[in-house]
């Protein structure tokens, strides 16, 4: 049962991501992206990482998608006319396929066949790691976010000199 759910969710995530390739309307694409991100959150949960799953829902499906949709609203985008794919799409598509095959081969050779059990690493452990050994990285991330905030304020200010 667990396996079925996992693979089904994985299939949803992948199909929804694939839909981005062919959709014309940006809002539809955003919806597919939400589906994909939510499916991924479920995958995280199934893998035993509830904290990341919750953060995925809140950050991606909540905050980031709102930003996307808001921008679409402001830009008042119309769906593109004509073919969604530009001419000469075969090359990049082939490249992407090749890349995936490469990774696939790479993985099939590696000795990673596991027999572990579903282990849940809860928020407590993650928090301990985050504010223990990785404290400096967290501070760095905070500085990065501050920088992004300042950049956003600067870029979006009214009346430029």
């Amino acid at each position: 049962m667990y396996d079925i759910i996992f693979y089904l969710t994985a299939a949803i995530a992948v199909i929804a991501a694939a839909a981005l390739l062919v959709l014309r309307h940006p809002v539809h694409a955003a919806l597919y992206l939400i589906v994909s991100l939510l499916a991924l959150a479920l995958l995280f949960f199934l893998l035993g990482a509830p904290l990341v799953a919750a953060l995925q829902v809140m950050l991606y499906a909540g905050a980031i998608m709102v930003l996307f949709l808001f921008l679409m609203m402001v830009m008042n985008l119309r769906p593109e006319r004509g073919r969604p794919l530009p001419a000469g799409w075969q090359g990049p598509a082939l490249l992407a396929l090749l890349l995936w095959l490469e990774i696939f081969v790479l993985l099939s050779r590696s000795p990673l066949e596991s027999a572990g059990s579903a282990m849940v690493i809860g928020p407590k452990a993650v928090g301990a790691a985050l504010f223990g050994p990785y404290l400096v990285v967290v501070e760095a991330a905070a500085v990065l976010l501050l920088a992004a905030l300042v950049a956003a304020l600067y870029l979006s200010r009214r009346g430029r000199p």
């Binding site: 090359g91 490249l95 890349l99 490469e102 990774i103 081969v105 790479l106 304020l153 600067y154 200010r157």
Partner: protein, 643 residues
């Protein structure tokens, strides 16, 4: 039976969900029927609960743990005790009738999906609020009804005035909601538990009578109740809320949501018992609001605003009863008020609709030709509101409150009695102006059946509900207070001789009020205006006061902050940063000797330019192409590694 408790809020919630998600595929006429069925589902479940003996055996159902934080686990749990049973019966009953009434009333509306979604959602929220067994869930319902109220007041949002009324209601009630939230936080910090039953035992064990903490908590809860129930000083939103459709006014702004504050205080009355000063304040607010609402209603010219001020005034009676410790009587008046006020609003809605959306009572009187049934039902509602002795339900509930108020303090009684006089005055003034104007008396217009049915039921209820609790000292049933005694206790009553005297005065006051109405109407037709008309019509000038005292300064503050913060901190800071970098660059240029390096740099530039000529073919500026090159690089690297 307990396991079906979830169906009471669940049925309307399901209806709202179906309408929201699948409403696009459902035909407009079916939407109304679907919404009514959802309301009927809730009502039938309540009926089943009655039949299964919920009146004497509290029901309890815990659906699941909502959140688990440490050892604190608020649940989605419902309790149906007697207090909740009264409320769910009123809410689901009036809710069902208003849904039915809406079927024809809103038939020509294009956006019915939004209307019925919010109406069903409101019903679900109100039932959650009433059934919640912990304060977190109660607060969820509290906010849900606030949201629906906002959305339904501004239902015709294309009209900026109506949209602004919705925003005003939301903002003003937010003040109260925030107070309630802080009160809940305070309770949690005290007891680490928000389940109502646990809370009350813990409070009894830990709190001292009249301690500061108890007073503060009760005060904050009272703040929430005052905001939601439109009592002084947060009453300004309710008259404007009449911008919504009439069924909405009947359901939300007369019968159910505005009484949520009364319910909240009745529900948390064990906490209020520890704070006698706050209880006294509740009574004082109630007494003042009675006179405030009634006097303001006396001068209104908008049909629905009369009823809005009347609602404010009537809820004042309930607050007065709560403050006197007569919780059961507050609940009794809540019930009768829900019936007769919904009846008044629905009748008024029918009249306004038949006259082509005319709200002014003087012009309505000149137009005439109102539906005959609406006239009779309005008369019944008005009689019940004015508490016409013996025959109406309003008499029994209001008289009991007057008696209880005397026991708490004759001053309170005097306010309530003066309010009762004014009540008869304003409602019959409105009745006479609208239905006995210069226009034709008879009407060709007949009401659709789905509007007739709720009006008739409410009219009957407005007359007979009072008979379950006859006044103190009368022979006959005293079912209500006897039934609620275990949960809500009994109020102190004055001695029998006084009671009889009060009852006689209480019976005469409405009649005097009606006589006052006759005099007023005659003089008003002759062009005479009440003293202070503008003052009373503007609701004692509260709106203007708040605009000067609160709204303006806030706007000025916001604008000032925006200017100062943006100009000083952000722009200034960035400019400072830029200056610093510029100074650094200047310094570098001055200190590094350019002459030595110059020749080398020139050579380098020549070389680079040559390379650029060759390479610039690849630089076509297309982002995708660059990305393609990057991924080709990674592909090659991976391939090399594999190989």
């Amino acid at each position: 039976m307990s396991q079906w408790l979830w169906l009471i809020p669940g049925a309307p919630l399901l209806g709202a969900l179906i309408i929201a998600l699948l409403g696009g595929w459902i035909r407009r006429e079916l939407l109304a029927i679907l919404a009514s069925c959802a309301a009927a589902g809730a009502f039938l479940t309540v009926l089943m609960a009655w039949l299964n003996g919920a009146a004497y055996q509290p029901l309890q159902q815990t659906l699941y743990t909502w959140v688990a934080v440490g050892d604190w686990r608020p649940t989605i749990g419902f309790t149906l005790d007697r207090l909740a049973l009264v409320m769910v019966s009123v809410v689901s009953g009036v809710g069902l009738l208003v849904h039915l009434y809406s079927v024809d009333f809103m038939a020509e509306e294009t956006d019915q999906r939004r209307y019925y979604f919010f109406l069903n959602l409101f019903l679900a929220g109100m039932l959650i609020l009433v059934l919640a067994d912990n304060l977190v869930l109660l607060y969820l319902g509290w906010e849900l009804v606030g949201l629906c109220s906002f959305a339904l007041i501004g239902f015709w949002y294309r009209d900026p005035v109506r949209a602004a009324a919705g925003r005003k209601a939301f903002t003003v009630t937010r003040v109260g909601d925030t107070a309630l939230a802080i009160g809940i936080f305070l309770l949690f910090s005290q007891f680490h538990e928000l389940s109502l039953s646990v809370l009350f035992t813990a409070a009894t064990a830990q709190w001292e009578h009249g301690s500061t903490l108890a007073t503060l908590t009760a005060l904050l809860i009272l703040g929430g109740a005052v905001g939601k129930s439109a009592q002084l000083p947060l009453q300004v939103w309710l008259p404007d809320a009449m911008a919504g459709p009439s069924p909405v006014s009947a359901l939300i702004h007369a019968a159910t949501m505005v009484t949520a504050g009364v319910y909240l205080i009745a529900r948390t009355h064990p906490l209020f018992e520890f704070a006698p000063q706050v209880q006294w304040l509740v009574a004082a607010i109630g007494a003042l609001t009675i006179v405030y609402g009634a006097s303001a209603a006396l001068a209104q010219s908008d049909f629905k605003r009369v009823l809005a001020y009347s609602t404010i005034s009537q809820i004042g009676y309930m607050f007065l009863a709560l403050g006197c410790g007569a919780y059961a009587l507050a609940l009794f008046h809540l019930t009768t008020h829900a019936f007769f006020k919904a009846l008044l609003f629905l009748s008024a809605g029918a009249v306004i609709r038949a006259s082509g959306d005319e709200h002014d009572i003087h012009r309505l009187g000149k137009l005439g030709g109102h539906p005959t049934l609406a006239r009779w039902t309005f008369l019944i509602g008005a009689a019940s509101l004015a508490a016409l002795p013996v025959v109406t339900a309003g008499f029994y509930s209001k008289d009991a409150i007057l008696t209880a108020a005397w026991a708490a303090g004759p001053v309170l009684w005097a306010f309530a009695a003066f309010g009762a006089l004014l009540t008869g005055g304003y409602i019959f003034r409105t009745y006479l102006l609208v239905f006995h104007g210069t226009g034709p008396r008879t009407s060709a217009a007949s009401l659709p059946r789905s509007m007739v049915f709720p009006l008739l039921i409410l009219a009957v209820l407005s007359l007979v509900v009072g008979f379950i609790e006859l006044p103190e000292g009368w022979p006959g049933p005293h079912l209500w207070s006897a039934w609620l005694k275990d949960e809500l206790g009994l109020a102190a009553m004055p001695p029998a001789a006084v009671v009889h005297g009060l009852q006689i005065i209480g019976s005469l006051l409405p009649l005097a009020g009606i006589a006052l109405a006759f005099v007023l109407v005659r003089r008003e037709r002759a062009g005479y205006l009440l003293p202070l008309t503008t003052f009373l019509r503007s609701g004692w000038g509260f709106d203007a006061l708040y605009r000067v005292a609160l709204v303006r300064p806030y706007q000025v503050l916001a604008r000032g902050l925006g200017r100062v913060v943006e100009a000083l901190i952000i722009e200034g800071g960035l400019a400072g940063l830029a200056c610093g970098f510029w100074a650094l660059a200047q310094g570098c240029r001055r200190w590094v000797d350019l002459g030595i390096l110059e020749r080398g740099i020139t050579g380098l530039v020549a070389g680079l330019r040559f390379g650029h000529m060759r390479l610039s073919v690849t630089q076509n500026g297309l982002l995708s192409r660059y990305a393609l090159v990057v991924s080709t690089g990674s592909l090659v690297l991976l391939g090399y590694w594999l190989w």
